[in-house]
Symmetry: C2
Subunit: 336 residues, 2 copies
DNA sequence: TTGTACGCGTTATCAT
DNA sequence: ATGATAACGCGTACAA
């Protein structure tokens, strides 16, 4: 069933059918009605590949993320897909894993599919050196690149993110103000966002005159979804460290690990230990007591990202960087 | 940069370039080498749309799921995408939500993109009447339809699933054998899989001569990710029901809700209450004590699904239904 | 082994 | 308002 079949059945030319299909104003109401009827009756739908050739666009956006089963990334992918679909775009999903080299080839692969743009979900796509981000600049020569929860200053690259440094500063300050100065900081990766969080934490500690806080900073480099490993890691860290009465984690799963460690040791939360997570994911309300966590406005970020993208594709000039403010959501794992 | 540019630079015809591109054997090593060099130098990649027109395939698989941020579905989507990418296929992701009517239009939409197949992830795509599944039969006239965690008997429809009835029967039996006969059964939806689980539970109760078990069967019809609502629901159910010393849930989040209810009431797990979840998701190891849960072999299912799909696309005859056995993973929420 | 020429289904540019 | 027709980039019979 092609546009030729429809044009024949409707007694018009393919040009007219195409116009109806694309909502052109230059079609008489009668003709339009007739064509639409035939289309409906035949259950005809235009061929996407052919359309892509003519339009030089498949109305498809490539979504790259490290792992779409990660709680945070999964939410982001979901919001993005919803918003894109609502605006008539398809989502080509690609999970790259966490290895930098693999990323490059995935970018090339997805670019060859003639996507209209690429969204990089999560900040682990951004390195700390210009060199590491070269592949992004190269890709941005072809299509606009959208960054969710990360930033990179380059032409045709648009960054949507939360001010993680400020949010973490706020979280740490809340804990410090409650009189807790021995804080274990757990993080997982030094992605763009990971560095910002760490910076924010360190700044808060310094500004409040805490000495030696660095000794309580730990990096867990395993899979955060493996709760047992996280728990063991925290337990191990506790053995080799000065005492601590607060835990701040760069991701909710790490905070959950700390809570499980506490449960094992019989340490009462929040009486003996206060815990703050990050992302305000579902996990925060799955544990007992529930986890205080930083909400980084993921849904708003995704909305803004797609709106920005649509405008850019429409040829509008748009801000290259949109920064949201996070918010500390207080729950049972903290008394303040 | 088109195939014409390459052919010109390499001093051959586009047919030869095309042959090199598609790995045809009918090219002399020298020519092949030269063409590849030019392709490399130019960073040329064939246009997917044009290729799709010629090949009548974009090597793209449509993945439909209700909500890719659901823990279970997200894992499935991840495994599927990985496996498909490894085999040179793209994944077009589409989240339909839980409304039947919306589904139909999404199917049509994705079919018009000329995908090579559609994977329906999760059993809520399958209704209990033949009429409800008509849209699947219609779609299967165009491309093979793959069902993950559900079954539908129709030509060109392939079902990969876990024997949820048997798994649930086993779980309930384990609890009954431990002497717990007053069991609260929590479920969320009567999808294909949801019905099987309920059937399995009911069968176990009957076979063990438990009377009046129906009074302790509750359906929570809200969003399972809203833990507070789930917890309240369980608390409410407890007020209006006979006493119970066991909980079996059709999904981990519901089981977590039961555990949170218990924590609120000061009910000790597993001493006073045993809890079993389903899916063996990350949540099972996030709570304290950890949750005993049924593992339904999601990764194996996804692997089998893609292998079956590839074979079907290759023209092979394949089994129309592949059934895996689930396994009860025992953790701290049960003493048996 | 290699090249020519056509078809794929659509959009867009012209005429009319 | 409508129709004829040329791209669009690639795969592939068919011919050489």
């Amino acid at each position: 069933m092609t546009i030729y079949d429809i044009s024949e059945k409707a007694g018009v030319s393919i040009a007219t059918v195409s116009r109806v299909l694309n909502g052109s104003a230059r079609v008489s109401p009668g003709t339009r009605k007739k064509v639409l009827e035939v289309i409906e009756a035949c259950g005809y739908a235009p061929n996407a590949s052919a359309r892509g050739m003519g339009l030089r666009s498949l109305r498809t956006i490539g979504i790259l993320c490290a792992d779409s089963s990660d709680l945070f990334l999964a939410k982001a992918v979901y919001y993005l897909e919803q918003e894109l679909t609502a605006n008539g775009y398809e989502s080509l999903l690609c999970c790259t894993g966490y290895h930098q080299e693999v990323r490059r080839s995935y970018m090339d692969l997805i670019l060859s599919k003639k996507v209209d743009s690429i969204i990089l979900v999560g900040s682990n796509f951004i390195g700390s050196t210009a060199d590491e981000n070269q592949y992004i600049r190269e890709a941005s020569a072809q299509v606009p690149i959208m960054l969710l929860n990360a930033a990179c200053d380059a032409p045709n690259v648009y960054s949507i993110l939360c001010d993680d440094a400020a949010s973490m500063y706020e979280a740490a300050t809340a804990m410090l103000d409650a009189g807790i100065r021995d804080i274990l900081y757990l993080y997982n990766s030094l992605s763009y966002s990971g560095r910002k969080k760490l910076d924010g934490f360190a700044a808060a500690m310094r500004d409040h005159g805490v000495n030696g806080y660095e000794q309580l900073i730990y990096r867990y480099s395993g899979d955060p979804q493996q709760m047992r490993a996280v728990t063991n890691f925290v337990a191990d860290a506790a053995v080799h460290s000065p005492a601590f009465h607060g835990v701040i984690a760069s991701e909710d799963p790490l905070a959950i690990g700390a809570m499980k460690y506490a449960a094992q040791r019989g340490i009462q939360i929040p009486r003996d230990l206060s815990v703050i997570g990050y992302n305000n994911s579902m996990l925060a309300s799955c544990c007992t007591p529930e986890l205080t966590s930083v909400d980084n406005r993921l849904e708003a970020q995704c909305h803004q990202l797609v709106q920005t993208l649509l405008s850019v594709l429409g040829g509008e000039e748009m801000p290259r960087k949109s920064v949201f403010s996070g918010k500390l959501i207080r729950r049972g794992s903290t008394a303040f």
